[in-house]
């Protein structure tokens, strides 16, 4: 491998052994990078970001400030008394080429294999990506998205702010999830989904209009008072 050039490393940053950083990459101040991390070419890592061991970051990836890439997944095994025992997470995080990560984002490393974010996907600030999650290519995920472990998300999905998803489900390609949408089950049909319970656009708007009318229903059709 040829020697990398034009790398900029900020003040007070700590870079551990066996780390590879590609040409033209910029590492901010107070960054901590653990053993065996691979960072591609022309990447940017913002200040106070922590990159845990063996994470793989492709070319042209941007990671903003205060991110945690490859932190321990929230994996515990319960014993017969209900006490939780930490399950070591021995997998890694893979960020593909062109991925952009906003500030204060946490991406957990996998229990065994990899947590992966596909090419050119954008994850906005304050999002949490749990262990074993696979996110496809060209997705746009807005701020405050929380996804539980082992969810698989297809390509070209768009999730608005504060959307959430349970774990162990599949979301197909080109799904749009609007603000505060909560995914409880797998989504097999590409469409625009809203709210909680999750519904398609027309159904959601009808339900919402009914909820707004509940007060009128009570007045019109009457609920007898106990007084």
């Amino acid at each position: 491998m040829s020697k990398a050039t034009n790398i900029q490393i900020g003040q007070f940053s700590s870079i551990s052994k066996d780390v590879i950083i590609g040409d033209g990459s910029i590492i901010g101040d107070h960054v901590s990078i653990e053993d065996g991390v691979i960072i591609g070419r022309n990447c940017y890592v913002g200040s106070f970001t922590k990159i845990y061991k063996n994470s793989e970051i492709g070319d042209n990836v941007q990671i903003q400030d205060f991110c945690n890439i490859g932190t321990d997944g929230y994996g515990y095994a319960q014993d017969s008394k209900g006490l939780s025992h930490y399950t070591p997470q021995i997998g890694k995080v893979v960020l593909s080429t062109g991925v952009r990560i906003g500030s204060h984002v946490s991406i957990d490393r996998a229990a065994f294999l990899k947590t992966e974010i596909g090419r050119n996907t954008i994850v906005n600030s304050f999002s949490h990506i749990a262990h074993n999650v696979i996110i496809g290519e060209d997705c746009y995920i807005d701020s405050g998205f929380v996804v539980a472990g082992s969810a698989i998300i297809g390509n070209k999905c768009q999730f608005s702010a504060k959307a959430s998803s349970v774990g162990h489900i599949n979301i197909t390609n080109e799904v749009q999830l609007k603000e505060m949408g909560l995914v409880n089950n797998s989504i097999k049909k590409a469409n625009v989904y809203y709210g909680h319970p999750l519904q398609e656009e027309i159904s959601h708007k009808e339900s919402q209009s009914c909820i707004k009318e509940l007060n009128e229903w009570e007045k019109t059709y009457g609920v007898e008072s106990n007084d």
Binding site: F48, K50, P88, V146, S164, C210, I211
Partner: protein, 337 residues
Amino acid sequence: MISWDKLLVDFKDHILDLDTNHQRGFDKLSPVDSCDGGSITFANNLKFLTLALNSSASSIITNIKLKGEFKSTEKNIVYVALPELMATLVLRKYFYVRKLDQHREAGISKLAKINGASISKESVVGDFSLVSGGSSVGPQSFIDSHVVIGKNCNIGKNVEIHSQVKIHDNTTIGDNCIIRSNTVLGSKSYSNLSDNLSDATGNVILEEDVEVGSNCSIDAPNLGSTYLRSGVKLDNHVYIGPSVDLGSNSLVTAGGHILEGVKTGPFFMSGGNALVDRNLNLCSGLTIGGMSYIKDDIDSPGAYAGNPLQPVRDYLKTTMSITQLPKLRKSISKLSK
């Protein structure tokens, strides 16, 4: 390579029964869908057990007894009550190296600043970390790079504090705790912040075996303490308000917010993005679904979800009813004519 005999000796208290077909050991623990000849895997249901039996794994940990024609003639089978727990223990014993053991030789970095604090000789402090006066760090503890520890903090033994963590003055951290990166312990909450920060003498107390995820914030009150009792585990992006008393062995998953003055019993569990309002008392053995909002005391254990909060069975019916409201509107309209 871990020998079969070693596994049997090390875990004899967990093993209920065995089917031994060979004496080969294993060099990794793998999930059922990615095994090779050197793998030991685990299965806690029939689907996973079928996958495991058809995989290349040499050994399987399970709780499902194989009988008659289903008995494997090629693989070693270990029968235990809780396969996931056994797999966790196998992983920790043979295939996991703690951060302290990875960096033990490093000791206290020359780039760290120790301002009159007491650091055990068996502990590690990483680059650019600061430990302020009056604080103590117990033996076998690992403080990663860029950690800031305030004055008069007590850090127990075998504690892991990851990078970019800020621990404010007077915080107590019990034995065997883990604090993950970019977390803040003991910051003063805006809900009760006086004009003069020096008036605030409250602190945060973590009992033993507490784990805190990354990007969490645990606030200290002006007076008194915020408690995380023994065995509490917090996921990432969790907020714990001042004067909260989170019961032992509680689990709070990602994005959970527990506001000031809340007291929970042991084994409180909340799903992602749940919110617990101020000054509530919650009983032990309570499970709360994701994105739920708790605004009243709860004194009956069980599983609840939603906003408004309901028992889970009712919540599922309610959410289903919401989707049926347009049909209901038509029906009511017809009836009223």
